[in-house]
């Protein structure tokens, strides 16, 4: 758009919380690099559309390869570019430049992306890539049609055109239909299908639904991550629309689709943040330049006017304009300053505070530090054999691997759904059934997180329903039904009213072992759970297949050892 817009957008991207959330140390995932790759690819794409050079298109394909190798979100890119080309075709802006750019980018880009073993043959097999392929074909047809139109008489052309269109479209439709029905072209995979149909994941694949980042976004998180960008965004859209060029259309498309997807999944807020910044940068720079012109121009105009001795009305109107311009500039500056402070605050409070060491304020204002996680992991590291295997829920897998240096059964790379489901079945079953599963998985230690003593609410009992859902989602876990863990009235309770399946399952026993004798709050009986705010239902029980190995200081982390079979017979 203009250098000023670029600079402004750059400044905004540097501090936007939506992007920082994925690139701080401790919360760093592929997306931190991927966003840079994506923007780089888009930049090169726009450049190649502008110039029509094969050089830029080839560079764009290489940048696309970089993007594919960093994140699975490249699917967004490979659908955005063809969509752009399609929209250009529909708007009648299709030209040789676009043709050259897209053909080069698509062929080179697809070939390069297939080098990544994870992608493999997906670009020709899955539905997510079909749009790109379709638009590629359409490009060829369109260009060919244009060529014919330029070289043939109108009547011949019309007949040929109509017949070709009918034949080709019917062939494509039948072909696609056959391929999809016969399964050669795979339908949309779960992760992406849930973007189109958000209820799909909740009903069919609990593990995707359980990740909190996959939940739909609320308005508050939009504002939290983007602040003034949310309302500068429509302004930027307006400016783009007012000067429609090929690349402006691209930005508009990108912005609109990013908003839709960010609304479906919180995680994709990250994809929205850069385009918000770009559009807001455009808005800010356009509006500022409009008004700055008045400030500069009015200065020279008044000088010229006074020199030439023009009428007072001119000076009045220019003064008015100067006033509004000054007001506007001041207002804009104020907005930008608040934006900066908001970003700094958000980054320090929400995205930089450690979640491995928790702190809380006691009733007398002093700060209590809960260092239980590190304490327990260090205990594991020092007191268990080196080849011990630890079973816990997948959230703590990376932490255990890194700090305790022990093998875990499942970890945050939730790639193997069946395996995680097996762990979920073990947690949700009775002790004897769980013992069979633990022996099958060769488990030596089991680790649970329990917040009932301290009031730490992201503990395993709160996550337990997800374990039940995931455990029951595979064939081996068919006997695990979610409704067994609710009371007859449909509530999830851990007190005396709770369902007996819940009160006797392994997770309950591990979390509340010996808790029935602990006083947690003044005036309440022992065994009062401070997160669920009830007295637990099953208090005095013994563990048959586990023995308690370690409980951290505030009972947040509890570690149990799996007992061997008894020497002289059955239990």
């Amino acid at each position: 758009h203009s250098v000023g817009a670029g600079l402004c957008a750059a400044g905004m991207i540097a501090i936007v919380p939506g992007y920082i959330s994925r690139s701080v140390a401790g919360s760093y995932d592929n997306e931190g690099i991927a966003i840079f790759c994506m923007l780089f690819t888009y930049y090169l794409w726009i450049k190649s559309v502008k110039t029509g050079n094969i050089y830029w298109s080839a560079l764009c394909a290489v940048a696309y390869f970089y993007m594919v190798s960093s994140w699975g979100g490249y699917v967004f890119l490979i659908n955005m570019i063809p969509l752009h080309v399609l929209v250009l075709m529909i708007c009648g802006r299709f030209s040789h430049r676009v043709y050259v750019a897209y053909c080069t980018v698509y062929t080179l880009g697809t070939l390069l992306s297939m080098q990544i073993s994870f992608v493999g043959f997906q670009p020709v097999q899955t539905s997510e890539h079909m749009l790109a392929l379709g638009v590629f074909g359409l490009c060829q047809i369109y260009a060919f049609v244009e060529y014919l139109r330029a070289n043939m008489t109108p009547e011949y052309f019309n007949i040929l055109f109509k017949s070709l269109v009918i034949i080709i479209s019917s062939i494509i439709a039948v072909g696609l239909g056959v391929l999809t029905l016969s399964g050669k072209v795979a339908p949309w995979t779960g992760r992406f299908y849930s973007l189109l149909d958000p209820s799909y994941a909740k009903n069919n694949i609990p593990i995707i639904a359980s990740v909190s980042e996959h939940q739909p976004t609320s308005w508050s998180s939009f504002y939290f991550d983007l602040q003034i960008l949310t309302f500068l965004f429509p302004a930027g859209l307006y400016y783009c629309f007012s000067k429609l060029t090929d690349h402006n259309i691209f930005i508009i498309l990108y912005g609109v689709f990013a908003v839709y997807f960010a609304g479906v999944m919180v995680r994709l807020m990250l994809v929205l943040a850069p385009v918000m910044c770009i559009l807001s940068g455009i808005a800010v720079s356009s509006s500022l330049s409009t008004y700055m012109k008045y400030l500069d121009g009015s200065g020279s105009q008044t000088k010229a006017a006074s020199k030439q001795g023009k009428g007072r009305q001119d000076t009045n109107s220019t003064q008015q304009r100067e006033g509004t311009a000054y007001l506007f500039v001041v207002l804009m500056t104020f907005f930008l300053v608040t934006y900066t402070t908001h970003c700094i605050w958000v980054t320090s409070e929400a995205y930089s505070s450690p979640s491995i060491v928790l702190s809380a304020r006691s009733h007398d204002g002093g700060r209590i530090i809960f260092d239980d996680f590190r304490e327990a992991y260090w205990w594991l590291r020092e007191n268990t054999p080196e080849d011990a295997k630890v079973m816990s829920w997948w959230d703590y897998g990376y932490q255990i691997t890194a700090m305790a240096n022990r093998t875990v059964i499942v970890d945050n790379n939730t790639w193997n759904n069946t395996h995680i489901s097996r762990v979920g079945q073990a947690m949700a079953s009775t002790e004897d059934k769980a013992y069979e599963i633990m022996r099958e998985l060769d488990v030596d230690y089991v680790l649970v997180i329990f917040g009932g003593l301290t009031g730490y609410s992201s503990d395993d009992i709160n996550k337990f329903l997800w374990m039940v859902r995931i455990g029951g989602s595979t064939p081996e876990g068919e006997h695990i039904k979610e409704k067994d863990y609710y009371t007859p009235s449909g509530e999830f309770r851990v007190d005396g009213e709770g369902s007996s399946t819940l009160l006797n399952c392994l997770m309950y026993k591990m979390c509340y072992y010996r808790f029935g004798q602990v006083y947690t709050e003044t005036g309440k009986p022992p065994g009062y759970d401070r997160v669920r705010n009830v007295v637990i239902g099953n208090k005095d029980f013994e563990l048959d297949v586990l023995e308690e190995a370690y409980t951290s200081e505030h009972w947040i982390v509890r570690i149990y050892k799996v007992k061997d079979l008894p020497n002289r017979g059955t239990r």
Binding site: E440, L441, D442, L565, R568, G569, T570
Partner: protein, 440 residues
């Protein structure tokens, strides 16, 4: 160099110091504590004890409630086996109790206990900890069809055929003679997989107090009337529990049994007692794993990791204790499992080179962390359970086939295209039109 020298010296010294301990340990495997009801038992069971001494056991005799009995000295057990020939003892003397006995078993010691028609509480406790239950006081095993005529008319001295013994030569030997028994019956826990019925009554036997009329169903009838029961614990410790002390007495060893058709046959008690004692005290039916080797076929030592679809050979050296010597064990049904949570390969091992048993198989096409598992449990033998973990990696990028046969057409098309373009370039660049010549 110096370090090597010192290492070797240390090894030699260590051997010198430990050698006598080893010898001592070998001899020490045969220390038996015999707890007697009273001193007279030593005389009435003299044949049994002399048989044990002949087999190399060192016996220490104590009366069951002798307060000087200790099992442990400085935290270590000073006996390897315990015989309890004291059916009516209520409490053991000294530091001995049922708990101490079970602790002894859980640490690897073997137990041979006899009960009787009147059984003391401590023995009942030992029995229930071992998976058996002794019938009430005053009951006998009664069999009105297979009894010895020399009893008091109650038919409590029963004869059990050799067929009623458990089907394992290692436990009961090869005797075919009938067995003479007078004592109470045992019940074995059916849900305990480690328990075995070594000697049961015939189908006409039952247990009841002979002087009381029968008002309710007897606790055991027929073949479920267990006379001698056994347990092999998960740590391979063995317990033999007999319901009769007289079974081991000189009188029964030398008795002649009237099988009913007038012929007198010597009783098989002595053979059974000997076989049973040798089995119980880990002289028979004992296996040990001396070593495991695994490597790629053709190589000698274990590699750091395997790759998928490689041929692997696995050998295990199993020895059996025969007459006090460890000789190679050659089973035909020992299996090797290659397990990654579930077994991917299960292969029966056969006798291979020089006393090892092993097998060769192909690693499956799936990579991961696997274990070589050998689980061998047979009636009468100690359990073998070994597990060796190895990692199996996928193919490295340069381990794939360099040229794929089905891709030859594509290679041909690519190269022919290159060649064609090259030739075409020449033709295109250096071709001059005919018309030019004509105009000239």
């Amino acid at each position: 160099c110096l370090i090597h020298f010192y290492k070797r010296k240390m090894r030699v010294l260590a051997l010198l110091f430990l050698a006598p301990l080893f010898l001592g340990a070998c001899l020490a495997q045969k220390r038996v504590l015999v707890l007697l009801e009273n001193v007279a038992v030593k005389e009435t069971h003299s044949l049994y004890f002399s048989m044990l001494q002949r087999n190399g056991f060192t016996l220490t005799y104590k009366v069951a409630d002798d307060p000087s009995i200790t099992l442990k000295k400085y935290g270590e057990h000073i006996y390897d086996n315990i015989i309890v020939f004291a059916p009516t003892v209520e409490e053991f003397g000294g530091s001995l109790s049922a708990e101490a006995m079970m602790d002894f078993v859980d640490n690897g010691g073997n137990l041979l206990v006899t009960a009787g028609s009147v059984t003391g509480d401590v023995l009942r406790e030992i029995a229930s900890e071992s998976g058996f239950e002794v019938d009430e006081d005053g009951t006998y095993v009664i069999d009105h069809h297979n009894f010895d005529t020399k009893d008091g008319g109650y038919h409590t001295r029963v004869i059990s055929d050799a067929q009623n013994m458990v089907k394992s030569d290692l436990i009961v030997g090869t005797g075919k003679l009938p067995l003479l028994y007078e004592g109470t019956g045992l019940l074995t826990d059916p849900s305990n997989p480690l328990v075995m019925d070594i000697l049961t009554g015939s189908s006409t036997a039952y247990t009841h107090n002979p002087s009381l009329p029968i008002k309710e169903y007897p606790h055991t009838v027929g073949k479920a009337t267990v006379m001698i029961a056994g347990l092999q614990a998960r740590n391979n410790a063995r317990i033999v529990f007999s319901g009769s002390l007289e079974f081991f007495s000189d009188e029964f060893f030398q008795a002649e049994v009237d099988t009913g058709n007038g012929k007198l046959v010597p009783s098989g008690n002595f053979e059974l007692a000997e076989a049973l004692s040798l089995w119980c005290f880990k002289e028979r039916g004992v296996l040990r794993v001396d070593g495991i080797q695994h490597s790629r076929v053709g190589e000698g030592s274990a590699p750091e990791f395997y790759t998928i679809r490689e041929m692997v050979q696995f050998y295990i050296d199993v020895k059996e204790k025969v007459n006090g010597e460890w000789v190679p064990f050659k089973p035909t049904d020992m299996q090797l499992e290659f397990v990654r949570i579930d077994p991917f390969v299960r292969s029966t091992m056969h006798v291979a080179k020089s006393e090892l048993i092993g097998t060769t198989f192909k690693i499956p096409d799936v990579y991961g962390v696997y274990q070589f598992k050998v689980n061998y449990q047979r009636l009468g033998l100690t359990r073998i359970s070994t597990s060796t973990q190895v990692s199996v990696r996928p193919l490295r990028h340069n381990q794939y086939e360099r040229f794929i046969v089905s891709a030859y057409p594509y290679y041909a098309s690519a190269f022919s295209m290159m060649f064609g373009v090259f030739v075409f370039a020449f033709v295109f660049l250096y071709h001059s039109d005919e018309t030019k010549k004509k105009t000239e």
